[in-house]
């Protein structure tokens, strides 16, 4: 956890942002715990009108991305994390070993991160997931080609090719990837998962391929009334996300690495 904190901290130590004093910033918390509320899957209603499945290969005419307005991201809320867990069957993982070890080992696609500027005391909340880089380091280092970027900008793992070496996890500046350490059971049809492979947020790729409008995290955030996350096509100037990006000052985390992330943050 310590390693995680320091590493993510340097995340914000970017030259372009004089107002951010990276060295003085500290993270209070990292992964948000899963609360055990009985929830009807949020967003289900929003996307129950199933569109037709894709018939043509994805193209680079679109580039999917997220814009996260941290000003709207509420303290103590982990609706996006829970929705992601449900959508992607992450809640089906069976805990193993001690609780603290399990917290480290279980696969997570979104981590709710809280950061504090120690100088001003300002606290910022944000969900951190795969940033879907245009030039993803995980893809550069993968020895088998399992880590790849789909034409529409989604960075993901072809589990049929993944040998579980975890180079990509080391290369990722966002600590966004997880390794599945144990056998899994009762997987969802749409989200196969098995021991020995690496995985991470794939922007709900099954929803993309069925033409649905958003992701599970976005739907959950809307349902909670926060609307902190916007999903959309970064290449379409008329998309909501592009419009918002034009209005709001936003940044890429670790923009010093020039990875051109597909996930942008406002208010950090």
């Amino acid at each position: 956890m310590n390693e995680n904190e320091t590493r993510t901290e340097s995340t914000h130590d970017t030259p372009q942002a004089p107002d951010v004093d990276g060295a003085r910033r500290g993270f209070i918390g990292t992964a948000a715990g899963l609360s055990a509320a009985a929830l009807v899957a949020p967003g289900v209603f929003l996307h129950s009108v199933a569109a037709a499945p894709r018939t043509e290969p994805v193209t680079s005419d679109v580039r999917w991305g997220l814009l996260i307005d941290t000003a709207k991201c509420a303290e103590g809320c982990s609706a996006c994390v829970e929705a992601c867990d449900r959508e992607n069957g992450l809640d089906l993982q069976e805990p193993q070993g001690s609780e603290s070890k399990w917290e480290h080992q279980k696969a997570v696609w979104i981590r709710k991160v809280k950061l504090q500027d120690n100088q001003t005391g300002r606290i910022t909340q944000l969900p951190l997931m795969c940033q879907h880089c245009e030039d993803p380091p995980c893809v550069d280092v993968c020895p088998t080609g399992a880590s790849f970027k789909r034409a529409d900008g989604i960075v993901m793992v072809d589990r049929h090719l993944c040998i579980g070496c975890r180079y990509c996890m080391m290369a990722c500046p966002y600590k966004a990837r997880s390794f599945v350490h144990q056998e899994t059971h009762g997987q969802l049809t749409a989200v196969p998962r098995g021991k020995g492979c690496v995985e991470s947020c794939n922007l709900c790729v099954h929803r993309r391929d069925y033409g649905e409008a958003s992701t599970a995290c976005v739907d959950a955030c809307v349902q909670e009334g926060h609307e902190a996350i916007v999903f959309g096509d970064l290449k379409d100037p008329n998309s909501v996300i592009s419009q918002r990006l034009r209005e709001l000052p936003s940044r890429q985390i670790r923009e010093d690495l020039v990875l051109n992330t597909g996930v942008r943050y406002a208010g950090v």
Partner: protein, 158 residues
């Protein structure tokens, strides 16, 4: 000379007939793997002619896998999800039975052929979809029992 030709002709005819007879016998003896009670049992044909499916299904699936995972194509007929949906069968409580079990569709034939797959380490061996869509899917597949007993539901209700 003519006699010899006739004799050869007869022999050939005999061989051909013999081959056909043997084939018919074989065809009768071929064990069928479609499981009773599965949607497939109600249908006449697979996604390709049956003998082609027997020989080629692994190739079809392999290509499908690349198309789907890398190119996002979801409408093609060789989807592994599709195989499971159509070839799944149910127990007395309307629960689907994992398709890779040695007495189920994929499992039985692979068992016989000594093929060992790891696909279902990751892939759902029963139709298993989340949320409201799952209920619709299960209702359509006649497997509401599965919805009630899915660990997915339990997890979100603790």
């Amino acid at each position: 000379m003519a006699k010899a030709a006739v004799r050869i002709g007869l022999v050939v005819l005999g061989l051909v007939w013999g081959a056909f007879a043997a084939q018919t016998v074989l065809a009768d003896e071929v064990k069928r793997y479609v499981v009773e009670g599965s949607p497939a049992a109600e249908l006449d044909a697979c996604v390709e002619p049956t003998d082609q499916m027997r020989r080629m299904h692994m190739e079809f699936i392999k290509h499908q896998r690349i198309e789907t995972v890398h190119e996002g194509i979801r409408d093609t007929k060789y989807s592994l999800t599709g195989c499971v949906d159509c070839h799944i069968s149910y127990d007395a409580n309307q629960n689907p039975r994992p398709i890779d079990q040695p007495d189920q569709f994929c499992g039985a034939c692979h068992n016989y052929a000594a093929v060992d797959l790891n696909c279902f380490d990751c892939h759902a061996s029963v139709p298993n979809r989340p949320g409201a869509d799952a209920e619709t899917a299960h209702r359509a597949a006649g497997v509401l029992g599965q919805v009630a007993s899915t660990p997915h539901k339990e997890a979100s209700e603790q």
